[in-house]
Amino acid sequence: MALVSSLRGIGSRVVNAVWRIGYASRFFLMTLYYSGLSFRRFRLTVREIFFSGVMSLIIIIVAGMFVGMVLGLQGYETLKRYGSESALGSLVALSLVRELGPVLAALLFASRAGSAMTAEIGLMKATEQISAMEMMAVNPIARVVAPRFWAGVISMPLLAAMFSAMGVFGGYVVGVVLIGVDEGSFWSQMQGAVDFRHDVMNGVIKSLVFGVAVTVISLFEGYDAPPTAEGVSGATTRTVVESSLAILMLDFMLTAFMFGE
């Protein structure tokens, strides 16, 4: 009997997971379908850009700066062994623009803004604000979900670009100002190695994809959360876990697709 019940448990988990994936896909398509309002009343989206984008600025700038500084230090230590400290600029810039910028900015965005979105929508549902909107014939997807989705998609590439730019500046501070790598070769090697279309634009595309993934996961988790205190807290946790995993897996796929030959 124990075997049967455990099999039944596994089965119901699988069915439940597939069910949720289907529901999430429908949720995503509905969000796209009802996106008109978030551009006609752009004010709604601007407000959400403020809460998800502007409020994440500080953490993005500080984290980017420190990641760049660490890259500068570690890169210098390693490159020094081969006598090629002048390649420090290209090392810092390439790793930031291609990978660390989009990925770390998205991870920070997921835990800073994504979890807030989930908690907000989950609480709106728990306090029956969503049902109240439906009663007033206001579509909650158009009014609540879509503006947040577009705000996330717009903010993410900008945040990632700021992260990379701050990281390069941090690398410059440590490498050139503190350690004393030659400034000219730092910048010229960097410019020689980083291609605008191949590296910078692919980083922007990556962060756009991450923006879509993180916001869809956060909004769906909020919308799907059981309307209890426990339900909302569980949904917030799931948002951070799922979006972090999604970012890292998508990053691998995108990297293989973009930079693999």
């Binding site: 623009v97 730019a165 980083v194």
Partner: protein, 153 residues
């Protein structure tokens, strides 16, 4: 609709984001060195291009004069066909020699153009007839060992 401080913050955010992208494009990336001037194309066949890649630089007397546009295998002669785009400020004589060279010991490979003395210049679409292939280390070691075996007893 009236303006609010919220709009100001979002404006600052968007401007800072775009500024960061511009910095990445011009200061970090190579958009500022992109060739916007006119260019013309030349082609050359090499029996072995070694590690030459598309977008590799083309230099003459050490000065960057163009980029490799594409590399393909010519199945008639089984040679590598390299298409190059050259800045139209620079013209080269008909008997120019194209060589595949390496910058530094382990650096990347590029094409060096050695101009000849012809008075007729290469036009767009022309082919550089005289070429010198990349030096392949394995071939060189092979030749060296072969010579050693012949001479040394």
């Amino acid at each position: 609709m009236e303006r609010s401080t919220l709009d100001l913050w979002v404006g600052i955010f968007v401007v800072a984001g775009i500024a960061a992208l511009v910095v990445l494009a011009f200061k970090v990336g190579n958009l500022s060195t992109y060739n916007v001037s006119e260019s013309y194309s030349l082609q050359a066949n090499f029996s072995n291009i070694g590690g030459l890649k598309a977008q590799a630089s083309i230099k003459s007397a050490g000065v960057l004069v163009g980029r490799v546009t594409s590399i393909s295998l010519d199945t008639k002669q089984y040679e590598a066909k390299v298409l190059m785009s050259i800045d139209s400020r620079y013209q080269f004589p008909k008997d120019t020699i194209g060589k595949i060279l390496t910058s530094g010991l382990l650096g990347e490979q590029y094409i060096g153009l050695d101009p000849g003395g012809d008075t007729v210049m290469l036009k767009s679409g022309d082919e550089i007839k005289q070429t010198q292939s990349a030096v392949v280390l394995e071939d060189m070691i092979g030749k060296f060992l072969y010579n050693k075996a012949e001479t040394g007893k």
